[in-house]
Subunit: 715 residues, 2 copies
Amino acid sequence: MNKRGGDFTLPGEAGQEAWAMELADRWGADAIRDSDGTSLSPALMEQGMTVYSTVCIIRSHNDFIRKHPRTRQQTFLCTAPKVHTGGPLRFVLMDDFFSGQFEVNGGEDSLPFWQVTDRTANLEVPAENWEYLKEEGAVLLKEASPFHAYTVSFLAYRVWEEISMYNHTANRWDSEPLMQLDPSWPEARAYLLDWMEKWLLEHPATGIVRFTSLFYNFVWIWGSDTRRRSLFTDWASYDFTVSPPLLQAFKEHFGYALRAEDFVNKGLYRSTHSVPDRKKRDWMAFVQDQVLDLGRELVALVHRYGKKAYVFYDDSWVGLEPYGERFPEYGFDGIIKCAFSGFEARLCAGVPAPVKELRLHPYLFPVGLGGSPTFSPGGDPAGDARAYWMNIRRALLRQGLDRIGLGGYLSLTRGYPEFVAYIGQLAEEFRRIKALHAQGTPAVKKPRVAVLHAWGRLRSWTLSGHFHENDTHDLMHLLEALSGLPLSVRFLDFEDLEEGALQDADLLLVAGARNSAWSGGSLWTDKAVERVQAWAFGGGTLLGVGHPAALEGYNTLLRLSQVLGVDVDDGRYASHGPWRFEADCPPELMAEGAFVPALPGVRLTDGTTQVLLAKDGLPLLTRHAFGKGQGIYLSGFRYSPGNARLLLRLILPASKDGEETFIPTDPQVDCAWFPAGRALALANAGGLPQHGKVPLEEGTLEYELEPYELKILRL
Amino acid sequence: MNKRGGDFTLPGEAGQEAWAMELADRWGADAIRDSDGTSLSPALMEQGMTVYSTVCIIRSHNDFIRKHPRTRQQTFLCTAPKVHTGGPLRFVLMDDFFSGQFEVNGGEDSLPFWQVTDRTANLEVPAENWEYLKEEGAVLLKEASPFHAYTVSFLAYRVWEEISMYNHTANRWDSEPLMQLDPSWPEARAYLLDWMEKWLLEHPATGIVRFTSLFYNFVWIWGSDTRRRSLFTDWASYDFTVSPPLLQAFKEHFGYALRAEDFVNKGLYRSTHSVPDRKKRDWMAFVQDQVLDLGRELVALVHRYGKKAYVFYDDSWVGLEPYGERFPEYGFDGIIKCAFSGFEARLCAGVPAPVKELRLHPYLFPVGLGGSPTFSPGGDPAGDARAYWMNIRRALLRQGLDRIGLGGYLSLTRGYPEFVAYIGQLAEEFRRIKALHAQGTPAVKKPRVAVLHAWGRLRSWTLSGHFHENDTHDLMHLLEALSGLPLSVRFLDFEDLEEGALQDADLLLVAGARNSAWSGGSLWTDKAVERVQAWAFGGGTLLGVGHPAALEGYNTLLRLSQVLGVDVDDGRYASHGPWRFEADCPPELMAEGAFVPALPGVRLTDGTTQVLLAKDGLPLLTRHAFGKGQGIYLSGFRYSPGNARLLLRLILPASKDGEETFIPTDPQVDCAWFPAGRALALANAGGLPQHGKVPLEEGTLEYELEPYELKILRL
């Protein structure tokens, strides 16, 4: 293995044995895996590399499911509203939804959960006033208020496993569409355990069972109209975990029942971006326990056959929660996370699992996740790989992990020699960085950063899915910036706040849009406000971005305006004159390319608030003294090397740590200092050569870096 | 008079008799008035012109007020919040306010109205926990929750009449600052009536007593810091009407008491732009009755002396409400409104008073309202006068009024011959337009427009003050556009809606920001939604602009989304895919220079919504069929000739009236058709010559117009 380098997982592909062996040599692969839709040939399995075998535990059971149709997975759906304009109001339930994905569950175990709602009056329609017409798949409203709008919320089977559905659509697969089995039914659970054991017996060469997550997929509700295929997409939501047996068990456990509205929430569903209510939290905790219960049984079974169990933390991961308190109870030997970005690398690196592995993009597929070409005409897979690696590499310099790998069809890489070469170089860089971490952790600057939001530790280093799915959220950009900065970062929720977690923080980051889980909304109770104000007054730095702590009903929209010295106008200041100000920014704060997006309505609440940056009369960046501490406000944040540097410079004074050591002159260059090994890593994330200086603990180092170069120096 | 033309009021100025007579000839003046700070000399009074004399009834009584200091007018004020960080919390009440304007009223009749509030917990602090330290003008909080924010709301005397304060500041007056008398005190009322009678006896030459409004000024709260002089400015708010006797009388009348918080509202006050609550409406109704009570006594007194009484509807107008139901009870012989804009002309024209007169801008002052030069170096008074007249003239073509005039110092016009000439031309145009209206009303297009907002008829053709004070509000721009369009326009409130007012409307306009009185907010009850949906379904056109009917707590933010086919994202759609669309605009809709401002978050709620205009993926202008009617949505509106034309074209189909008669090819040209007199007015509002066509009932007319020309043709 060593001659190859190691720490690299190669996707296998039947019929590509020779090419696989060549790539294994060039990339230093020490493990080989089968991808979805491929399988490993015996020839490849015999090459002495560790064999990862993919098991997507809830799919490929179509035969069983056909015999036991109730074991298909389900979800609540809510029709589009209809206005009662006279005549009977009739809802054909599937009118709005993709018939390939859903099928109405009109069974007796399902109907009690359905709800018809008057959306104009926010009132449930009594069950005796509506009727389900099974033959027509329709609900007929027998009595309704004129010109009120109504919806029907119902339980539907999901009849096409969503990843299979995606691959058929995006990668034009033509295999049989797969369904997904819900292990909340006893017969399904028994079948699965049995199937798993059989599978283990049949795969003696497999060293590592790589679960494509576990049971429940992230939420992806498709519409009937191709002009609006994606009705609702949420990587971290639990809508796809519902079933009559689980809902029943929940009721027995918690003493209260959940029904359709608790999930569909006026037809808006309950996005991870919104503040969760108690019911949602209870349901999540309940599902997490259920998933753990069967999940650890599967892991134990794998172990019993002398194999290791890794989990791919994507796809059907819901309920698994690697940052949940009970995650170690699974006994997983490793976790694999696919990553485009730095925050995903940190997300993976922070999971308490023995082996942490990144699945890199681009996947060896003709098109990428966004639908643009990769291994097909017009694609630039080497360029894509480098762009993602530049994001990931700066995060890896801060926190190491164990392995990397690729997924997809190896055969597609033929004809892309630049890609093949680049992956070899990238793998080598990965191993050099891993070796650095083996000698000790890299240095961090003094200020201890805490990020506060509704989810806290559970959603460490993430929002809901990939960067491009969250790029309208300031916090996504901040996490990406933080992922590569020399800082210790923790994630707090509002319970942590009550438990005194701020005492270990020098800077508190609250960043999000109004009414979002990220800015906190209704979680900003009086007590929470008190705590943060007391902490800031005692010397803490509050960094607010966007609408931090925004909540209606108080004298200011931002409940922390007293600390920040700013507020955001939601109409309340229509007749109120603004403070006149002059913006005055210390030049060293704005690195090359740094900028702050404007947010309409930002205004000063205090004449002592210093405006550092402004545009068209809108403050963009302000600072406000509050006791021994301060409030810093940024109207928005977008990730870029220059803005990451700006963020670092805003954070450093939070511990009177203005020192410049290990901060290179150019923001495109990241620097990590590993004191135990006295190693200095310098990484150029940009496409231009860099020539600059970095102050060391003693003296200053001049550096020259080629485009994209990683340089490691021993001092 | 006739040789001069008439219908024009000239300001008089002592020592300028000859110049006044020359201007009277050139401008066709038939009346002369004294301005604030000037007085008419006997020489001028004897020229045979009607004499207007200004009476600002509540000021120029400093001697009386000094003897009866409790009769000074008052207001509630609220300090800036302070956080309790340990130690006693002490508020020096005047710290935040302009000491020239206010003085704490710490009297025994005042203190019971004060309130100290914990703004973090939204709770009043019991009176026993705080103390007023009279000597220090401070409130000491004896007990407070750590790290909660507190405010003190108190009653203050206003010690400088605000118009006097403004003139001293802007026009550098150095006369004695005036105070204002509050007639809610019996001794003040008696004194005023007595004073008025004496005044009438002393002014035999006066034909018309021109009240500079009545008793209570619009609200203008100045701060102590010159960097934020204007804390709160609201032309239509009632904060300056409070006094212990009125508050006491209110309690006796309504059976409940109002205190500081009812006015200061968390320190935000209750702007006219926000939805009024019941208490505010009760207070307004009560004040209106009080103002009427004394106001009509004053008018009767004027009549008893054989003079006429006009009211200048500005300055101390609060409580007067020319669109209030009881306005005719005053018995005013005329109303005068100062005007920069078309909407102000319509506002004046619609008042039920025998004579309606416009006071034109610019005033004959060295600087204008905005602080820029007019009759001083750098000023262009002729250009200003023309710009305002272009706004006003198009409105006058739609609804006539009786007189125009100027205000200020005549002497300042010397050295501005262009201005003198232009006013002569303008006066002539005014008289030509007035003559047109004398023959009959101009034709309007079929669709009957109703504008719905919280204030309805009471705030017909206005928001709160001048255009430039309201220019962030879409409705301001829409009113300005509507003021010159050939349409009948009514203003409805939500009670009118319940009373069936929509049956007389073809198009309903709802335009405003979220949480504003204009978009309606909490007034959008289920019943209101039902009514509008039923009416639209039956054939009505709903035109929504900005955040029409926005209210949180329902499935859509816009409660009328079912009609409009759009909603605005307030964060609720963070995980929801948008409808894909292609924008397709009939070319005739967008007049030259027409544009629609974007509003972030606008999205389709229905695949059948037609997008006519879009920018960067945001729909700007949409149309959605709803039964026999439709919803039209505009994400914003800014007044311009092109946009006024766009608005007209959007409105016309509301009555299947797409006909083009009397609509000139160019949007800079306004056309009014007076069928009784068979007169066609064509007015070019722009600085370029226009050559175009206007379709008539029979045939088409070609026109050529000089820049700014008004042409009247007999057909």
